[in-house]
């Protein structure tokens, strides 16, 4: 049997049925969202450990001129090295059922190695037999081919070879093919020979014995290089990825961190609601608390009573939120795993994540209520008994607002809003937090759009075509210019630049673009330094990302680059924003001189029509014409499409923030409804008096609605202020992970207006029920309320 004190608690809660239910609903929303993030993160972590780390990802890759068994054995014998394999990567063009895509074909020295980059056979044959290929799972659909079908591969400008797709395998170390728009395939050296490309291995990959950091792995790689060179081999480059991290892991982690921060913010907003609810209950029951103290209740008894109520709220909310969170987490985790190219595997959410979520959900309201509960429970009995109930007065504020142009009813509403100041502040904060995130997201969205527009501003072409092989620029332009529908063309030279480090090692390769002195279709928007001039020799304009990636590259610095294997010296004269691309621009003449030929591999095209269908037609005609003239086209891009995909990709994060903002606004609205209904309850007597002296339904309703609008107006102002630091933090986080966007101090006007309108709706909806209650209250009961 329940003891009387708990029965009291239960019945008091049922007096606050609607408010209690609202607080639970708000917590369910917050907990389900935060819980889903936590659960999906935990699931992804576990799958990462089970699949990615278990696959023994490659610690380092050495580019070597020629790898043979003896060389491999030398590296294997190094004490720090646990496993080695040799590899060759061939870049090719794939064609399946009329779909042309870029492809990378991997040949490995050991298909069954379990100690290094283990591959997981999925379907069909494994390993690939001579004359067959096995496709990587994530690029199967993108390739257009099917298991048992064929894929035509052409590499090195040779004729395409039709190869049967004999199996499907998963390589968890690769980013998903569909995301990177590359078809990954596995083939034997004999198959490479059929493609008429070099079939010997040219990379040594190894896994280190112990868990080491990146620098330690680099030292092992340098030792391996020395060992290879001692045997007469030549190492041209070393690549050491961050140990234990998938190619997309950093991006995922930053995303998770941003999401986590907002999940915490949502929970804080929920906590504010609980504080309001519990504080209101305590305020209404001060005298009862005094009586209980007189009857022998200790501060601990009182605290336990109200903390117990808060705990019950948390348990109820958690019980509903937990299954919801799990239901959301599964597909969300599946999406994230798909983006990491990990198999979903075991979809059970780790027990610790569920336990943590449940515990946090139960304890959140207890923690939120702790302060008011502690204060109430420590109140002396004499003071509690003296409490006259609800008698807080907004008199001071009311007088301050006695402005001539503010009508009397509005003055009353403003005064009412200020009566319970702490409660109002919490309500305003809860609403403002959601609004600030909304404004921050809107700001970020417009910042992203502006940045993308800026990025593409210098791109005055509508499409670009990539050639399989380098061609002579003038001939290429001439062949393209005559195609109907083409309004302008410009050939670009593209080479691979590799930075030579002081220690003799090579950095990562980046694209080096040759820009003619006259470049009508591509203009650089220089951020720092200057652009390329007609008289420039070996001058470079580098992208911001390249600047960030390579510490050696600085404005005005002189650097040594390997271009087509030949060392050349260049001076950095300017920096441009090229989004997430690491590339550099050089005068076409200087690049041609370095390479020893006027070669182009890309064609920029300006089209006469801006109509998508007509543009596509022209591009098809152009491709056919170029193919006919002996220029093999590897791929084409329509700029509008590229830009849209790029923008969408960036805006995905913004959209997520938008969803968070909606959830928070919903919670804030629930908070307003709860506060307003408390206000009506506490002012029962006053409303009765107003009724008795003839206030109409409309007057009463207006009074309540106006009070809600006053709170919302304050929330709007507060959200504008709050959106500044939030917007700043967002832009900063976004810039770090994806793409630098300009930081804006002021929320954008459209967003601010939309949010104001939204708040108006929130206010009317949230106040509807309290206003109805106020109107429905019979004067007699209102007056009798003690």
């Amino acid at each position: 049997m329940l003891s009387p004190r708990w029965r009291k608690m239960l019945r008091d809660a049922s007096l606050h049925k609607a408010r209690t239910a609202l607080a639970i609903v708000a917590m369910v929303v917050g907990l389900a969202g935060a819980g889903a993030l936590l659960a999906s993160w935990a699931l992804v972590q576990r799958v990462t450990a089970q699949t990615f780390l278990a696959s023994r990802p490659v610690s380092a890759t050495l580019r070597v001129e020629r790898v043979d068994d003896a060389l491999l054995a030398r590296v294997r014998d190094l004490p720090a090295i646990a496993a080695v394999r040799a590899r060759r990567v061939v870049f090719a063009t794939a064609d399946a059922n009329g779909r042309r895509t870029r492809a990378q074909v991997f040949a490995l020295s050991d298909w069954h190695a379990s100690g290094i980059g283990r591959l997981l056979p999925d379907e069909g044959a494994w390993p690939p037999r001579d004359g067959e290929i096995v496709l990587e799972r994530s690029s199967l659909e993108f390739s257009g081919a099917a298991l048992g079908g064929t894929l035509r591969l052409s590499a090195g400008g040779n004729d395409a070879v039709a190869l049967p797709v004999a199996g499907i395998v998963r390589d968890v170390s690769l980013p998903p093919g569909w995301m990177d728009h590359v078809v990954y395939a596995f083939a034997t050296p004999a198959t490479l020979a059929r493609l008429r490309v070099p079939a010997t291995f040219d990379e040594v990959q190894f896994v280190v014995r112990d868990a080491l950091d990146r620098d330690a792995v680099r030292r092992v790689a340098v030792a391996a290089k020395a060992s290879i060179e001692a045997a007469g081999g030549r190492v041209t480059g070393i690549d050491v990825p961050v140990p234990g991290e998938h190619a997309h892991a950093a991006q995922m982690d930053s995303l998770a961190l941003t999401q986590g921060a907002f999940a915490v913010l949502t929970l804080v907003v929920c906590a504010l609601l609980v504080v309001n609810l519990v504080a209101a209950m305590l305020a209404a029951q001060t005298r009862e608390i005094g009586v209980m103290k007189v009857l022998g209740a200790s501060p601990g008894d009182i605290a336990a009573l109200y903390a117990g109520f808060a705990l019950a709220l948390g348990v109820a909310a958690s019980l509903v939120a937990l299954p919801l969170a799990v239901a959301i987490a599964r597909p969300y985790a599946a999406m994230k795993l798909d983006m990491l190219n990990f198999p979903l595997g075991d979809t059970a959410i780790p027990a610790w994540a569920l336990a943590l979520q449940f515990a946090a959900g139960c304890l959140l309201p207890v923690a939120a209520a702790a302060l008011p509960v502690a204060r109430a429970s420590r109140m002396r009995a004499a003071d509690a008994l003296r409490d006259a109930g609800i008698a807080a007065d907004g008199g001071v504020v009311r007088r301050r607002f006695a402005l001539p142009f503010v009508g009397r009813p509005l003055r009353l509403s403003i005064g009412n809003a200020f009566r319970r100041r702490a409660r109002m502040v919490l309500t305003v904060l809860a609403l403002a937090a959601g609004g600030a995130v909304y404004l921050g997201a809107a700001n970020l969205a417009s910042g992203v759009r502006a940045s993308v527009a800026h990025l593409f501003a210098g791109h005055r072409y509508d499409a670009s075509l990539r050639l399989v092989d380098d061609a002579e620029a003038a001939r290429l332009e001439a062949a393209a210019a005559t195609v109907p529908g083409v309004a302008g063309v410009q050939a670009l030279a593209k080479a691979r630049g590799v930075l030579r480090h002081a220690d003799g090692l090579d950095g990562d390769a980046f694209a080096l673009v040759g820009l003619p002195a006259e470049s009508p279709l591509l203009a650089l928007s220089v951020e720092r330094g200057r652009g390329l001039g007609a008289t420039d020799g070996n001058a470079l304009v580098v992208s911001r990302r390249l600047l960030k990636n390579e510490p050696l590259i600085q404005l005005d610095a002189e650097v040594e680059l390997q271009i087509d294997g030949k060392p050349t010296r260049w001076r950095v004269v300017g920096v441009v924003d090229a989004g997430p691309q690491a590339l550099a621009y050089a005068p076409a003449a200087a690049l041609d001189a370095a390479r020893g030929g006027v070669l182009a591999s890309t064609l920029l095209v300006k089209l006469a029509s801006s109509e998508p269908a007509a543009q596509l037609d022209t591009i098809l005609r152009l491709r056919a014409a170029l193919d006919g003239a002996g220029f093999a086209v590897a791929g084409s891009e329509v700029m509008r499409e590229t830009r849209r995909v790029f923008e969408d990709h960036l805006l995905m994060v913004v959209q997520f923030l938008g969803v968070m903002a909606w959830a928070m606004i919903a919670i804030g609205g629930i908070g307003l409804a709860s506060t307003m209904s408390l206000g009506v309850l506490e002012r029962t007597r006053e409303i009765g008096v107003m009724r008795a002296i003839g206030a109409s339904d409309r007057a009463i309703m207006t009074l309540v609605q106006a009070e809600g609008l006053v709170v919302c107006a304050l929330a709007w102002l507060a959200s504008l202020a709050l959106s500044m630091p939030i917007g700043y933090a967002l832009a900063d986080a976004f810039g770090r992970v994806m793409f630098a966007v300009p930081m804006r101090a002021w929320p954008n006007a459209d967003g601010a207006f939309a949010w104001a309108a939204m708040l108006g709706v929130v206010s009317i909806v949230a106040c509807a029920w309290p206003a109805r209650r106020a109107v429905r209250m019979p004067a007699a009961r209102a007056l009798g309320h003690a």
Partner: protein, 231 residues
């Protein structure tokens, strides 16, 4: 001569006020024996409720020493005072102060709950017995709002007696009752006194004083008269 149940020595209570300290009680010396039924009388604002609060351990004296049933209230910690309040004293308020969401029975059980006294069924039996003794057993399962003032005050007395305290304090218990109801309540209290309970009751009404065995008159925070009333 047996030791008195209550001893007040040189008690003073001062409230800080903007216009200087306000002495609600000063120089109070009083001894109350077991089985006394004391009526505290005096004009409004003379310090009657203040005195009762000190006796009940609800408030602390600014000066002097209060000993109730061997407990030095001034020296006791807040925790000890709470524990003592639960078992050592029963308090009845002018406005009944029953908890509105508990039934009459549950209100009476509550102090036993806080004092962790007996088992739940035992508490229930005792609460029913107390309600029966005060003549409101038939109201046990009603909420306070469904009871008349007199019934509520009887339930409040039953609640005050829940933990069988030696002392009952009542602040104008009949202030909100009509004369007939007041009379029956006073008779009930007198009956309890005959059974050994000590009662200190603040009252304005001359008829109430008639039920007491002693009266103490306060004026401006001081005892101005003290007399034994013989039946």
């Amino acid at each position: 001569m047996p030791t008195p149940l209550i001893t007040l020595e040189n008690i003073g209570k001062t409230y800080p006020a903007p216009a200087g300290d306000f002495h609600a009680l000063a120089d109070i010396d009083l001894a109350i024996d077991r089985g006394d039924f004391v009526a505290v009388v005096g004009a409004s604002g003379s310090g009657k409720s203040t005195l009762l609060n000190l006796l009940g351990g609800i408030d602390r004296a600014t000066r002097g020493r209060i000993v109730v049933d061997g407990h030095d209230l001034g020296a006791a910690s807040e925790r000890a005072l709470t524990a003592w309040r639960g078992r050592g004293v029963g308090i009845v308020f002018q406005f009944f102060q029953l908890l509105p969401t508990l039934t009459a029975l549950e209100n009476v059980m509550l102090p036993m709950d806080f004092a962790r006294r007996g088992t739940s069924p035992a508490r229930r039996d005792r609460a029913l017995a107390l309600l029966d003794r005060l003549g409101v057993a038939d109201q046990a399962d009603k909420l306070p709002q469904a009871l008349s003032g007199g019934q509520q005050q009887r339930v409040a007395v039953a609640r005050a007696l829940a933990n069988d305290p030696p002392l009952l304090l009542a602040d104008e218990p009949t202030g909100n009752l009509d004369s007939r109801t007041a009379q029956s309540l006073l008779e009930g209290l007198a009956g309890l006194v005959r059974d050994g309970l000590t009662v200190v009751m603040v009252t304005h009404e001359p008829r109430a004083i008639a039920y007491a065995t002693r009266s103490v008159s306060l004026a401006d925070g001081r005892i101005v008269r003290e007399e034994r009333i013989d039946a």
